[in-house]
């Protein structure tokens, strides 16, 4: 069975299996676990890391829509004995299939035997009759759990255990220090969960999720004044800034590589191949940047950062024993009120700065606004579970739309600049072919168009965020009267 690290197949109630038969036949089978229906199957001998490396067929396109940029990795291997029977009519036409499935999970022991009844479309009555017969004669009862889930459990996987979304349920009655610690712990767990895939460069999303956890950590630390001991906080902010820096170059290369198909689409057909030299250059850069990142993760600095951070999270940032230092003033205050105050402050800044932006504003101002919007978003994601969802959700929705347009603007600018720099480097190092540079010029033009569109949309998106209803929701967060879920 194959899955993405973040369980995209099971998330869609499906599984992807590679079935290798004794006679050397091999099929990649994608099926629903609720109905057992085969959604797609194709002959595949070796499963590639990315589904888009398979021959382009409609089913591969559908699979790629599920995985997007994620790699598929083998999770569990079953040794299966399948005995199949067919229900046929007088023309030897199959009306239903019955299979007896006896499997052993490698590393997990034998699984319960399962009889599968697969109806053939248009012959439902025959399948139903057979089902009744099986129930009446052998006393079989319908099984509710797919054999795959049983297999995963047998080898110790908890399906759906990882998600790139922060899934927190903070206790509204907790103190600020407790809530901050819980959030930082969850973020550190995300970093740890992604580290091995990141080191192995399995796909781009391990680094992406790792970086998001680092950025959220930095944001939460920035908003931890008067909650976490100042020395600890200063140390942690420095160290996480460093981690953020060392992860930037490989991420930049990843972003370009992920955007390549869109860049190609923006060019006329005959020019598309000209980006191959650019792609090769990026791939080379990505490999180098990734190796440098892994070297940074192998340093003593990183080891001691993670070691000390884990200790602090376990011990809850309490002052060292015998230390005369007082607890920071907000640490023991209710989280609901403190987080609410931070969210309101971040919101006020977005509104203040956003209102000054007009069509003549310098790109830097939009860039600053994007950072502030991000900070607000992180606060809402990390601490939103302290408040009623009907207050938080609409704010996040409008904020997300605003961020999308700010992001599109910023990314197009940064990428256009990046492509120009890369073009220069390619010219210096390799004497890049003129066709490649021309094609890259075409991409820069396309990015300028995107940037202009995004900028044109800004006013409307900001107006949708700068509304009375959003302001009222934010104002209520953590206010004693009705903002908190319980006595905040």
């Amino acid at each position: 069975m194959y899955e993405t690290f973040d369980w995209r197949f099971l998330g869609a109630d499906t599984v992807l299996e590679h079935r290798v038969e004794a006679d050397d036949g091999a099929l990649l089978v994608w099926r629903s676990i609720t109905t057992g229906e085969v959604l797609g199957q194709l002959p595949v001998h070796e499963v590639p890391r990315f589904v888009w490396h398979l021959p382009q067929t409609p089913v591969v396109e559908r699979l790629a829509r599920v995985t997007e940029m994620r790699a598929i990795v083998p999770l569990v291997t079953l040794d299966t004995r399948l005995d199949s029977l067919r229900l046929i009519d007088d023309d030897d036409k199959t009306l239903a299939r019955v299979t007896l499935d006896r499997s052993t999970a490698r590393g997990g022991g034998p699984l319960p035997a399962v009889i599968d009844l697969n109806p053939v479309r248009g012959y439902d009555a025959e399948a139903r009759a057979l089902e009744e017969l099986l129930a009446a004669q052998i006393g079989l009862v319908p099984d509710t759990e797919d054999v795959t889930i049983a297999a995963l459990r047998a080898v110790g996987f908890a399906p759906g255990s990882y998600s790139s979304k922060l899934r927190l349920a903070l206790d509204p009655a907790s103190t600020a220090l407790d809530a901050w610690t819980t959030v930082l712990r969850a973020l550190f767990a995300t970093m740890q969960a992604n580290e091995s895939g990141l080191r192995g460069d399995v796909d781009s999303e391990f680094l992406h999720d790792f970086r998001v956890a680092v950025r959220r950590t930095r944001s939460v630390l920035a908003d931890a004044k008067d909650i976490i001991d100042p020395d600890v906080r200063a140390w942690a902010r420095d160290e996480f800034r460093w981690i953020g820096q060392v992860t930037s170059p490989p991420r930049d290369a990843d972003v370009f590589l992920l955007a390549l198909p869109a860049f190609e689409d923006a060019l006329p057909g005959e020019r598309r191949r000209d980006l191959k030299a650019f792609q090769a250059f990026l791939e080379e850069q990505q490999v180098r940047a990734h190796a440098e990142l892994v070297a940074a993760l192998d340093t003593e600095r990183y080891r001691s950062l993670t070691g000390r951070w884990r200790e602090l999270l376990d011990e809850g940032f309490s002052p060292a024993e015998g230390s005369a230092r007082p607890e920071p003033p907000d640490a023991g205050a209710p989280a609901v009120g403190i987080a609410g105050a931070h969210i309101r402050k971040a919101h006020r800044r977005v509104i203040r700065d956003g209102r000054t932006i007009n069509s003549a504003s310098h790109p830097e101002e939009l860039h600053e606004l994007r950072k502030e919007a991000k900070r607000l978003r992180y606060l809402l994601e990390c601490f939103g579970s302290l408040y009623p969802p009907d207050l938080v959700t609409p704010v996040v929705r409008e904020l997300k739309d605003l961020q999308d347009v700010l992001g599109a603007y910023q990314d197009s600018q940064v990428q256009a600049e990046g492509i120009e720099q890369l073009g220069q480097q390619m010219l210096e190092k390799h004497g890049a072919p003129a066709a490649a540079l021309l094609a890259m010029g075409g991409v820069v033009e396309h990015l300028d168009d995107i940037g202009r569109d995004a900028r044109a949309q800004f006013a409307a998106r900001f107006a949708a965020f700068d509304t009375k209803s959003v302001r009222t929701s934010v104002e209520q967060l953590g206010r004693p009267k009705d903002g908190a879920r319980s006595g905040g």
């Binding site: 199957q41 194709l42 067929t57 089913v59 023309d91 030897d92 036409k93 479309r121 248009g122 012959y123």
Partner: protein
């Protein structure tokens, strides 16, 4: 969803064998495929062992009483479904005449299935009639088997002219290919050599006149399932790969 009709004015040129074998190959690659047996003789239904009967007959389909979805039957192969033939298709022209915009009816019936199938093969009866106009309107591609004779090439020209003059919103792409080719026959060789020199819309792959294809009637299966290493199975594989690049 791509709609591919196997069509020729003449009967007995290998239309059904093409629909059956290509649909099987498409499904074996992982595509979701529907074959609609529009020929009242029901040869495609016969090859797939599905009884040639549509509940309420073709009439109820055309008149919109019954969704196509309700009459689809699974074949013995994964993702390969069939709308069986019904003898009442013989009256299809009569029924179509009594519906509004008769030539668009087939396309309308297929529309709800757009998300369910990657390819639909229409196996058509040999004629130019209201039913075939409806096919031309619904199909993206007409795959036309041609026996390599001068007459059959003239039929292809006639079809071209008909499509030019017909009032179609988007005429299908016509792709001919030589079928039932016997290299021992001088006429076949001459016609093929002439055409290869001149015409662009005739595919390069040729389907031989072979026992394996005739044996489909006995085996009631696509050639690739009972004679996978045969010349005819290889020819259908080539035809499918070549045709796909032209859709």
């Amino acid at each position: 969803m791509k709609v591919i009709a196997t069509y020729n004015l003449k009967g007995g040129v290998g239309k059904t064998a093409t629909a059956v074998n290509l649909s099987y190959l498409a499904a074996a690659e992982g595509a979701r495929v529907l074959v609609w047996d529009l020929d009242p003789q029901g040869a495609a239904s016969f090859y797939f062992r599905v009884k040639p009967k549509v509940k309420g007959g073709g009439k109820s389909l055309v008149r919109g009483k019954r969704d196509l979805d309700d009459v689809v039957k699974g074949t013995d192969f994964e993702h390969l479904d069939l709308v069986p033939a019904d003898f009442s298709y013989r009256n299809l022209d009569l029924v179509l005449e009594h519906t509004k915009r008769p030539t668009r009816r087939l396309g309308q019936l297929l529309r709800p299935l757009r998300k369910d199938y990657d390819y639909v093969f229409l196996d058509c009866p040999p004629s130019i009639s209201l039913a075939s106009e409806s096919v031309f309107e619904a199909a993206d591609v007409l795959l036309v088997p041609l026996i390599p004779t001068t007459l059959s090439l003239r039929a292809l020209d006639q079809l071209d002219r008909f499509l030019e003059n017909a009032d179609l919103r988007k005429p299908p792409r016509v792709l001919g290919f030589f079928s039932m080719v016997d290299r021992r026959k001088r006429l076949h060789r001459d016609v093929i050599d002439n055409v290869t020199a001149g015409r662009r819309r005739v595919l390069r792959t040729r389907i031989p006149s072979a026992m394996d294809i005739e044996r489909m009637g006995q085996r009631r299966k696509p050639v690739a399932t009972f004679a996978p290493r045969s010349r005819s199975a290889a020819a259908y594989r080539d035809l499918w790969s070549e045709a796909k690049t032209r859709f």
